[in-house]
Symmetry: C3
């Protein structure tokens, strides 16, 4: 699976079990081609007439790396791949792909949970791994907004529910990048402004929350909880779907907020980041509480992903890099995340060893820290 020769210690470190610190449940049901195509593209729409989402780096990667896990030759046609997927059934496909990833612990963002998706516990069982929960802030807020009668209850319930959910979780997650962009005012909003905004919100609670005041209130409430329980907060940054405005998803735009959190000691974990992963690595290099990984970008850039990891390694301190697959809906994402993390790291480490920059012991240590060691420390697994 590794694209280069490496000293044994480095090879072993790269092939050791990974902690996937950010993923979602995969679908338990058999999928039509149309359903499968929708789940392998962030476009959330079918490919234009006459084209297919298989004609992407990710599509090619599924044919290359997932086909053999289903006993097929590499590069089989999409129809053959999907036929075999159907033949084996979703349960077997999920077990094979999740286990092929060599992941020892899944940290599952449950914000997108649905009956047809594996639960956190099931992800662990199917993958032969441990599984813990990451609580998505905006999902909690939606639940509260739909049930709170008045603004004061909204505020109280939000704090209580977050604390209760956090008690069973290993981290929190914010998608504020999607809702108002990362260039938000970093200060904690006043109680008066939150009450006023909550009153507006409760008049139409089924709408998706986009009010910056309430989004900031949610975040600062989460900061209190995270601080109490020593939990990290994950942030979606960079690459996402069409709901996102990429020009407002650069993690450097939240420098003020990161600065405000520094004295509180709450770890900030930057997810995905692409194409702002250099900015993210910079933040992780200068702020002691910032961590970073390129998650989703590895899977979607696939055959072109090695450069992205190499660019991340330009600045990221060895103790700040994490691994995630961000798999969602299909287990292919999990396997490919692991494949491209290992291949990309292998290429990057080999280049540094071959040029004499790092010795093998350094390289092995970096591989271990990024693959699992850092996540165990940050999430206290």
């Amino acid at each position: 699976m590794l694209p280069v020769d490496l000293p044994d210690a480095v090879r072993d470190a790269l092939l050791a079990p990974l902690v996937d610190h950010h993923c979602h449940g995969v679908r338990r049901d058999d999928l039509s081609r149309a359903q499968f195509e929708l789940l392998i593209s962030e476009s959330r729409t079918p490919a234009p007439p006459g084209t297919t989402h298989f004609d992407t780096p990710l599509g090619a990667a599924i044919r290359r790396w997932c086909a053999p896990v289903l006993d097929l030759e590499p590069h089989v046609a999409p129809a053959v791949y999907l036929g075999r997927r159907q033949e084996l059934g979703a349960g077997e496909v999920n077990r094979r792909l999740l286990q092929a990833s060599g992941v020892v612990a899944f940290l599952v963002d449950t914000g997108l949970e649905a009956p047809e998706q594996l639960s956190t516990a099931e992800m662990g069982r199917h993958g032969g791994a441990a599984a813990d929960e990451i609580v998505r802030l905006e999902q909690i807020e939606q639940d509260i907004a739909e049930t709170a009668p008045v603004a004061v209850d909204y505020m109280d319930s939000l704090g209580e529910e977050l604390a209760a959910r956090a008690a069973r979780a290993v981290g929190l997650k914010s998608i504020i990048a999607y809702r108002c962009g990362l260039d938000f005012d970093p200060s904690r909003p006043s109680r008066g402004s939150v009450i006023a905004a909550a009153n507006r919100r409760l008049s139409d609670p089924r709408e998706r929350l986009v009010d910056p005041i309430l989004l900031r209130h949610l975040l600062w409430t989460a900061v209190d909880v995270a601080r109490d329980r020593a939990l990290p907060i994950q942030f979606h940054t960079g690459y996402g779907d069409t709901d996102l405005d990429l020009s407002r998803a650069d993690p450097a735009q939240m420098t003020g907020f990161i600065r405000a959190l520094q004295p509180l000691g709450v770890p900030v974990v930057l997810l995905h980041c692409y194409p702002f992963h250099r900015q993210a690595a910079y933040l992780s290099a200068v702020f002691p509480h910032v961590y970073v990984d390129v998650g989703l970008a590895l899977t979607h850039t696939a055959g072109g992903s090695a450069r992205i990891l190499d660019e991340l390694l330009e600045l990221v301190p060895f103790h700040k890099q994490l691994f995630s697959s961000d798999c969602y809906g299909v287990a292919e994402g999990c396997h490919l995340g692991a494949v491209y993390f290992r291949r990309g790291m292998a290429a990057a480490l080999a280049r540094r060893i071959d040029s004499g920059e790092w010795n093998a012991a350094d390289a092995a240590r970096v591989a271990h820290m990024a693959g699992s060691g850092n996540a165990r420390r940050v999430y206290r697994l």
Copy 2:
């Protein structure tokens, strides 16, 4: 011409005729050194005293790749190159370089047309290729502004003239990035606000249009026309000359406008994009109607261009990538655009084949689609 060994099918696909979906007319007259230097730099000024615009990646590329087309050794001195150019005469030089590019169809932006430049038809004749027109919106607007007596005529004439010109063209082009930046308000301006702005405009119609209201009106008028005639709209983004503010030329800044166009089905073609080509590839991956190429960036980064194409390939769906040379003034730009497109794609495809990521059939198909297939489909050639 290709820098690596490739399976025959891939090699053939790369060497097949290209559709250059965005270029300008080249000069028909013989050029002095000063004139030539101005045309090979986006600075629009002479190089500082004691320096030369030949001391750039593009200058070196001319000496390397264009010299042999004029029967010279690679790497000849600039004076020798220009002497030979003079000796052959502009007509012969243009014919040789345009034909050496292996372009089968030129789509010519006629917005910068001048008597000393080849017309669209002449570009085709000299290049031994088909040639079609791309209508530059801001040029039409300028013509209308200089002749319309009052605001209502301005609005009516603009729509009529755009429709008339579009009837003979294969696409439209906007340079709104130059005029007010891509972070413009994506909504269609109200009729009242347009009338008011048009009245201001008509008081000084020879000025270059920079009013965001009229620029947006122009764009939305073009959207109506494009929709009626199923034409794509090209947008200058990224790298340009000193009139541009690069920090307002990131295509991700126009996400709101792209989103607004999605239900209308009007294709959006992002030109150049550098250094925001990863953002552009992202947009093409998540929005079904967005297409992308790195045009001008290939020619100007020359010997360093392969990485840029490779970065584009990280995310761009195979059915979304196009080729253009953006040649302007000198035919060298056309030849070099084709050279670096083919060399860069060759390197990128070879790497993916060699690492087992893609098979040769995939690679050949990608080369064909990016080189001509996608352009034929999008522009309905």
Copy 3:
């Protein structure tokens, strides 16, 4: 020291003495491990518990490239390295590392001067090199603010002091990126607005200047001085410490100011730039008075730095690139800046020679210009 075989002329040009056009004084005293760690990270804080700033690309580079200069094996443990440093004493360590860098002239930003740092003259003596001063604008302003009794004196004294200091210097430097970001209003502020702002400022003169009006006034005063004396103005852009907001440090954000300076002929030198070095190279390509280097980024990205230089070379004209180490506090920065500049340029030039893009004479000339020739011309050394 070079990672690839190169024609003799290119090799000689790369190994020739460098002009380090931007650095700071290094510490004259022996440093504890804690002190040393603080000086090798832009975080300005200790590494998180259980981690070390040696676990960074820069830390690994010190063990790799500086250890042999202190007679140690490459890759020794941090404790061994620091023990040897202590054993030799700061004076000997500084002499060895500064001289190993092969720098023939240091241009020293004296804005951070402190008694425990080598002065400009001492940097020259220890390094066996010439040494000249770069005047930091914000330091001059701080001195004036703390002594001027009223606003008019403030304005007069600022102009006089800048002129006096500039008379003994080879350049000026602005850190406006740190103070209000590079997206500042490019126009010269009115005298009235400056007087009003100066009055506010003088009521609390020990505060660090952050008022955009006074920062712009400072800059335009510097422009007058620079124009009179034909001095370049350096700008911190991109990568810096936690005081910086990276999203406001993109040099393209100061396009308006650069445009305003073009007719005045004042050279603008963009420092560091990472991760906006492509934007910086673009500015240097289109504006005749803009120069660029990646300074600090080379040292901190260390084993990953070659790509950054290669990306800069995508667009930078050969007569626009400079070299700096930005060393500060520890002489390791100077040696590593030189090492990675030479290694990165070697790799980039070798690739262009091997692919036939440039000939050896071109490559040697580029190496010479970037290493020292351009700096001699721009700073009139």
